[in-house]
Structure formats: structure tokens, C-alpha cells
Amino acid sequence: MQNKVINKISIIGNQIESWMSAIILYRALEGKCEINIIENAELSQPAYFEAGSFFFEIHQRFGINLKPVMQPNQSQLFSATKIKSEQTEKWLGNDIKLAQYKGFELPHILSLLTQTSENLSLAVRVSQAQQLILPQQIPPQLGRYDLSALINGHDYLHFLKQAAHFVGIKSYSAAVKSISCNSENNQIEQLVLADEQVIKTELIINTSAHFQRAFLTQSAQNSTNNPANADNIKDKFISKYTAFAQFKVAMSQTAQFYKTVNCDDCIYHHYDFSGQRIVSVYYDPNAISLQQVHQQILAIYPNAEMICDKASLQLQQFESWRHNCLNLAEIHLDTNPLFAASNLFLRALMRLLELFPNKDFEKNNAALFQQLLMQDLNQYQAYQNLFEFALNRDSEDVQSTNEQTESIQLTEENQQRIALFKSSARLSHELNPLIIREIWSNLLVLATQGHYGFDPVLHALDKTQITHWLNGYKQKLNEIKI
């Protein structure tokens, strides 16, 4: 049989994702494949980005030691989000296991005892401590939580580039000028760069929006040969906050172990490390301009420096595979106001390894890849939709039972999520989810403003004992040093 293994990979883009893909693929493929990076220039410079536990797990899995990029004054670790509005302050924890009484999770207990207004998330409590508390320092019966991080993209990129250089990954700092395709199978065989260098390739991993626009978006007619299922996503991706800017402010303060989010016409994320604050702003470019955003920030922090701005692609369709080109340009680390979006990109990379193609780029394999990625994207969007809903509800009438705020339309799936949670604090079943149930649960507590039910079996249990357990739990939480 003909040897069909791919031996040459070209990664297009000069972003964090591009270099991260290169290093991870290098490690996963044990250096057996030639990997080139074409540093097609991008709109923005690398800024700070959020990473969740999956990010760390993957680096560990492939033996990549992140210590150099995790310096205290260059990255922030946090286990919760403080959501601030004029009237209220709410918290969302990165809990991954909730405390349980006889198998009933904490939200059920709080609902039974009508104490849902109290936030007893372990992740939140830990984040409020004035010092870093690692998950392994906490007794397991209190639950478990994850630490997320805001990572300095510049440092991380530098680290990746050094590592890439060390293992012999080649990079070309010129944009792609043209491509040449095989006339039979439409696969891209050569990339001609602006400096006339020619790069032969067998698999392309595109992380560049430029490349996407210049070479992939227009060639729609070709895609009929390779129906890797372009999914229509125009109506699914309903967030209006599609543009992003990031600012750095020098401040004299100590590090915080939570991030802060507030929302008016934009969504603001604040990350505080010692000596500086990073502000990420997600905004609706149809309602407010970048300049206005900048001015707003300067009004609050006169010394703010803009370090990144980016508009996400307004996609009609999502098509992960076009012949031998895997298009991951849309899945960025920071185009959506959601924690740990890097999970999405890394899961896509892991899928690539699970479904690693051969030179035939078989269509069913590509379709399965697309299907799995769409599942993640849908979940990601569902979470974002509910998150925006929860943020917007904050300012509304607490007693309101109406599930639609004026500005945020809940998806049908989220309406069912809320209905189920309101009825009995239950969560829909999901196989191998991008977002785990505890995280959904915490968000649903906010989205329902604490008006949710509990497992009716609790009616049958002794309330005094449950109260006793809860008091014990609270006491242990209070013992966590603040």
C-alpha cells in the first residue's frame, strides 16, 4: 500500500496559537514530521490571555514546563470571578467538585434551607484569601476547584519560539503571496511567500485570519469536492460583543486571586497582579468605536496603555477542513468574553491528534472532526449566552420571573437549562463536555438569581441534620485563611 503519512506541516500565522500548535504537534508526533511556521502578519500583537486547567494539563502531558511563563508579576492565578454592578457584587467560582451532603450537592442544600443568597463556593472563598491557596491544600470534603491564569502572551510566545527554535522548527517571517494547488485533489502543495521563498507542504494548519480571507473564503466552489460540512453558524453565534481591546495600567497594589467583571455597554474584565492591572474590554463594534472605548478607559486610568485590539471574524459559516487545510483561525484565545477560551483551541488540537489525517484527507474523518468541533463551539456559545444573560440580569428586578432580559435572547437550549435548574437544581447531561457541570451549576445559580429548586428527596431528610452539616461546612470555609 502507498505510504500516505504526512511528513510536512505548515502552520500559518504568527500568533500564540500558531506557535503553541507547532510545539504541541512536535511533541505529540515525536519530531517525526517537519513543521514550518509561516508568520503571516496579523492584526494584533500578542496580549494577555486566559488559560484554564486543561491548558496546563496539555502542557504537562507533552512535557512542556511552563515555569518560565508563570512568574508572579507576569501572570495572575485565580479561582473565581467577581461580577460587579452598581448595586451588587456577585461571585462565580471555578469549582470542579461541589461539597456534598449524602450525595446532594451544595446548591440543593442551600435552596432547601433558603440560603441561596449566600455564596459558599469553595473556589470563591479561596480566591478571596490574600494569598495563593493551591487546591491540594484544601481538605477534599470541602470540594475541589481549578486555578485559571491570565498569561502574558508576549512571554509565552517568546518561550514557545525559543522552544521551537531549539527543536528545529523553522519559521518564515513573510506573508503568503500565493498558493499552488494540485489540480486533481485541490490540495495546497506549495506556498509562495512575499520574499519568493517556496514552501512545500502536505498539511496546513491555518491560524491566520489574513490567510483565511485571502485564500480560503473565496474559493467556495472548490469546497463541493470536499464536503467536510460547513456549518452555518451565523445565527448561533449571537453575542454582540465581537470586538476586543486590552489595556495595561500601572498600579500600586497587591495581586488578587480573582478577576473582576463588570458590564454596561461593554464587558470589562480586570486582572490584578502586583503592580499592574490588565483590562480586557469586549464591545459591540456597531454601538461603540474603539476610540470611544479607549477614551472611556483613559477617563478612568489616565496612564492606561492599549496593548491589543482585535475584531473577531464575523462568520457566516464554519468549515474546519478545506482539502488539506485545517482552518482554526476563528478559534482564538480571546475573541469572546469567556473564561479560558484557550480550552477550545487546545481541544481542537487534541481532536486533530485523535483524527490525524493522511494524505487523502478523507472526507468522513474531516466530517467527524467538524462535528466534534461544532459540539464544542455550540457549548462554548451556550455558555457565553448564559453568561451574558446572567450579567444583564444583574441590574434587573430580582423578583422578575421573565426569562428574557431585554437585551439578551436566551437560546432554546439555555431556556431548558434554566427551566431544569429552576425546577430542581439539575443539569442537562453532556458527554465529554467542554464545560463541566459544576461550572454550569455556578453560572445557573447566578442566571436564576438564586431562585432555583432542589432535589425533592431532600424533603425526606432531617432538616436539623442538614443545617448542622451546612454550619459545619461554613465553619470550615471560614477557617480558610483570609
Partner: protein, 493 residues
């Protein structure tokens, strides 16, 4: 806010589904708050089959705190490591679908890709030669947990063959001890309220039993879900057309394998299930392609030992309910749907129905969200298993039987079509799919066109060495295993 609670639940039916439900409910729902009543009719009786299980049953037992030795003793159980399929691809073929994966993921690549490449380079070993469980089963052995501790094969899956009647009896005792009230009697009338919800049951003797919620475990009759609430049945018999079975118990054979044996015949298949004290036998067929008499004759030939019960004929139709949960009623067991027993999945579906319902136990005021979630989850399970069973039929290569030719050529569900096409092309399967796809597909000679191309980075010597090592590890591990019968005897002593 005050909500109206379920306080009384009536289960109609005392077969496997009814008593599994009663036992699990009694375990989960405190008896001082919940009243659980089970109505069954000796006059009607139970279906009396359903003896082969899959590993999930161990989770059921574990949740209920059932001791394994006691369970094995009381249900006359034997151990099961998989199913041996005879004559499914072509006449004379035989393969084992073991529990768990065959081989392990190595360098991120599933084992069947290694086997495929080796096979293309002349390897003659069958795929199941690389399954520890299949090899143990062929030698009538059973792995002992303690012996394998810390070793490569220490995490293995297994299940049981059980005596269905003894199992119901065993669970009945468990449930009654936990407060379930059993009522003997035939339900003659079901009363509904103005919203069509079920209010009460009236028995033949005139006794009326009211409840807040009803579980329909009345078997194929579907006394509540069908006859009362008229929830339509979705017929899948165009994909899974076998509709009859002859069953009988016989004396134990000399050689007892810790696996179910499923042998294909001209218009269906036949099973052999060993228990401690007898064999369970059945011949499943499509009455459009085989007359009852012909089936009876074939069944007699299939029996290896003396019958101890008269053969019985059972009729059924494959399919499921449009809704499993409707109004204040959930259908669990044969009333909810039936997938033929080829992969021994019915008891698993019962178990899933029970646990899902307990997980979603509603308030009476508004149960729509829970109901929707329940129906979605159960639908998904039924369809996934349905596809997996169709796969076995569809992948045959027989040329001498109308029944099998029809199965080869039939239009299969789109969901299955997509999965099959993906496997055919590159041997890929989706994570979390039910059953062990590579074992069944390869077992039935349906080989992917391509193995994972990354294996071309491996030299032929390296691959040969890898395959040999896998085999040696299995051979080492199985050397000192006890026989399955020895293991059972030691356990129940």
C-alpha cells in the same frame, strides 16, 4: 415556596424491570416519606427471559449495596467476559466481542490501527487474539482481581449471566425489606383525571390503588403508557426484523464458557447462556423468513443437553416509545421499548431508566423540564444501541439466505451510515460510543481501508515486536488464572 411532592409511587409489574425499579427506589427514597407499592399478577406472569447482562449491572448492585457473593449465590449467576459471535460474517466465522477495549491506546493511536497494519503485512492472528478477556474466556478462565493487582490487565470489565426469575425474587426480598409493599392482583381498570394524568388503578378484586406517580413495568402490554396514555410506539422492525423466539432451559453442558454464545442461523440467531445449575437457550427468528415449526426443529438441533422446561414461543416487535415519560407515568422495561437481546442491553436500559428518573425526580407542580430531559437522554440511548445492533446484521457477507441478504442491502439509519462510513474509511470511531466498534466490525470482516498513517513511522520490525509483546503480556497474565467455575465456587462458598 411550597411545592407539591410525590409521596406515593405505584409500580405496575413484577418482572425484572418492576423489581429493579422497586429495589432502587426503596434504596434511594426514604420510606418514612415515600410510599412505594408494586402490583404484579401471578396470573399473567413475567416474560421469564433476560439472563445475559453487561458490566453496568455491577454499578447497579454497588449503588444498592448488594454483596457480590450473595448476589451470585442467589441468582445462580455465572461470570461473563463478552459475547462470542459464531457465523455472523460468513458461515464458519467466529469472533469475540469482549467487554472493554481490545488492546490499549499507544502513542495516541488506538490498538486496532496497529493490528490493521500488521494484518496488511501478513499477520494472521485474529483481532480478539489481542484481547486479554477474550483469551481468558476461550480457556474458560476468569481473572481474579487480587492476582492482577497493579498489573497491566487489572482494570477489566465483566458482568453476569443470571437466572431472571431468581433475580426478580432476590430484588423483591431486598425491596420488601426496605418497605416496598407488594400487591398481588391483576389491574383491570386505570382511572385518569381531567388532565389525563393517571389517578388510580382498580384491581380485579375491586381494590383501588391511587398514587401520585406511576411506573409502567407491565412488559410488552404497556398497560399504562400504551393502553391508557396512548403514547405511540416507534416501530424499528424494518431494521431489526426478528420478531419471535423459542426459549427453553436445559441441563448444564460439560464445557461452560464465561461468555454468551450467539450463533447466527438462516433467519436469525440462537443463544446459549450458562448458569451455575442449567443452561438458558433461545432461538430468535424472523417469522417472515422462518416458520415456527422449522424454528422449533432448528432449536432442538441447537440444544446440546436435555431440556428441563418445555419450549415456549415469545413474540415481540423492536422499537421504542415516542415518549418514555408522559404525564405522571414513566415506562421502564419492555413497556418502554424493546431492542432484541443480541447485545444483552435491555437490563442496562432498565437500569438507565431507573437512575435517570431518580436523578430527575420531579415535584408534582411542574415536571416538564425533567420530563424533557429524561425523554431526550433515553431516546439517545435507545438509538445508539439500536444502531449498534443493526451493525451486526448489516455487516454480514452471507450469500445463501434471503434474510441475511436483506440485512446487507437494507437502508440503515443515517446516524449509523455516517459512523460506518467513517470507520470504513479510516477506522475512526467517536468517543463514548456504545459497544466496542472495532471488535465487532473487524470480527465481521469489515476492515477500514486505512490504518492511522502515523504508523508508517514505525518499521516493520518495530511493529512485529510491538504485536508480539502484546501477545506475550496476555499469555503471561492468563497463565495462572482460575477457571470461571473455580472462581465462582470459591466466591459463594
Amino acid at each position: 415556596m411550597q411545592t407539591k411532592q410525590i409521596r406515593k409511587i405505584v409500580i405496575v409489574g413484577g418482572g425484572t424491570a418492576g423489581w429493579m425499579t422497586a429495589a432502587a427506589f426503596a434504596n434511594r427514597l426514604p420510606s418514612q416519606f415515600y410510599q412505594i407499592v408494586l402490583v404484579e399478577s401471578e396470573q399473567i406472569g413475567t416474560v421469564g427471559v433476560g439472563e445475559s447482562t453487561i458490566p453496568h449491572i455491577r454499578q447497579f448492585n454497588e449503588v444498592l449495596g448488594i454483596n457480590e457473593a450473595e448476589f451470585v449465590r442467589e441468582t445462580h449467576a455465572t461470570f461473563k467476559l463478552g459475547i462470542q459471535f459464531k457465523n455472523w460474517g460468513k458461515q464458519g466465522d467466529s469472533y469475540i466481542h469482549p467487554f472493554g477495549e481490545v488492546g490499549e491506546l499507544t502513542k495516541g493511536i488506538d490498538f486496532h490501527h496497529y493490528w490493521l497494519k500488521a494484518n496488511q503485512h501478513g499477520l494472521t492472528d485474529s483481532f480478539d487474539r489481542y484481547s486479554f478477556l477474550a483469551q481468558a474466556a476461550l480457556e474458560q478462565k476468569f481473572p481474579e482481581k487480587k492476582q492482577l493487582e497493579g498489573e497491566k490487565f487489572s482494570q477489566y470489565a465483566y458482568s453476569y449471566h443470571i437466572d431472571a426469575t431468581a433475580y426478580a425474587r432476590f430484588l423483591r426480598k431486598y425491596a420488601e425489606e426496605k418497605g416496598v409493599v407488594r400487591v398481588e392482583g391483576k389491574v383491570e381498570l386505570v382511572k385518569q383525571d381531567a388532565t389525563q394524568a393517571i389517578e388510580s388503578l382498580v384491581l380485579q378484586n375491586g381494590e383501588s390503588i391511587a398514587a401520585d406517580f406511576f411506573i409502567d413495568c407491565s412488559g410488552f402490554r404497556g398497560l399504562l403508557i400504551d393502553q391508557t396514555l396512548n403514547v405511540p410506539f416507534i416501530d424499528w422492525s424494518h431494521w431489526l426484523p426478528v420478531n419471535s423466539a423459542i426459549v427453553a432451559q436445559t441441563e448444564l453442558t460439560d464445557t461452560v464458557y464465561p461468555m454468551t454464545i450467539a450463533s447466527a442461523h438462516k433467519a436469525g440467531w440462537a443463544w446459549k447462556i450458562p448458569l451455575q445449575h442449567r443452561m438458558g437457550n433461545g432461538l430468535v427468528y424472523d417469522s417472515d423468513y422462518m416458520q415456527d415449526q422449522e424454528a422449533a426443529d432448528l432449536f432442538n438441533q441447537h440444544l446440546q443437553t436435555k431440556p428441563i422446561t418445555e419450549p415456549r414461543v415469545l413474540r415481540f416487535k423492536t422499537g421504542c416509545r415516542q415518549q418514555y415519560w408522559h404525564k405522571n407515568c414513566v415506562a421502564i422495561g419492555l413497556s418502554g421499548g424493546f431492542l432484541e437481546p443480541l447485545e444483552s442491553t435491555s437490563i442496562y436500559l432498565i437500569q438507565q431508566g431507573i437512575f435517570k428518573f431518580l436523578e430527575l425526580l420531579p415535584n408534582l407542580d411542574d415536571m416538564s423540564a425533567e420530563q424533557k430531559e429524561y425523554n431526550q437522554v433515553m431516546d439517545y440511548s435507545y438509538q445508539t444501541i439500536r444502531d449498534f445492533i443493526i451493525l451486526h446484521y448489516h455487516l454480514n457477507q452471507k450469500t445463501d439466505s434471503e434474510f441475511w441478504l436483506r440485512a446487507q442491502n437494507m437502508t440503515i439509519p443515517d446516524s449509523l451510515k455516517q459512523r460506518l462510513a467513517t470507520f470504513a474509511e479510516s477506522g475512526r470511531t467517536e468517543l463514548g460510543q456504545f459497544g466496542v466498534w472495532p471488535a465487532v466490525c473487524i470480527g465481521q470482516n469489515f476492515l477500514p481501508a486505512q490504518y492511522d498513517s502515523r504508523l508508517d513511522w514505525l518499521s516493520e520490525q518495530e511493529l512485529t515486536h510491538f504485536m508480539q509483546t502484546q501477545k506475550q503480556q496476555i499469555d503471561m497474565a492468563r497463565q495462572h488464572l482460575p477457571t470461571a467455575s473455580q472462581y465462582i465456587q470459591a466466591l459463594i462458598r
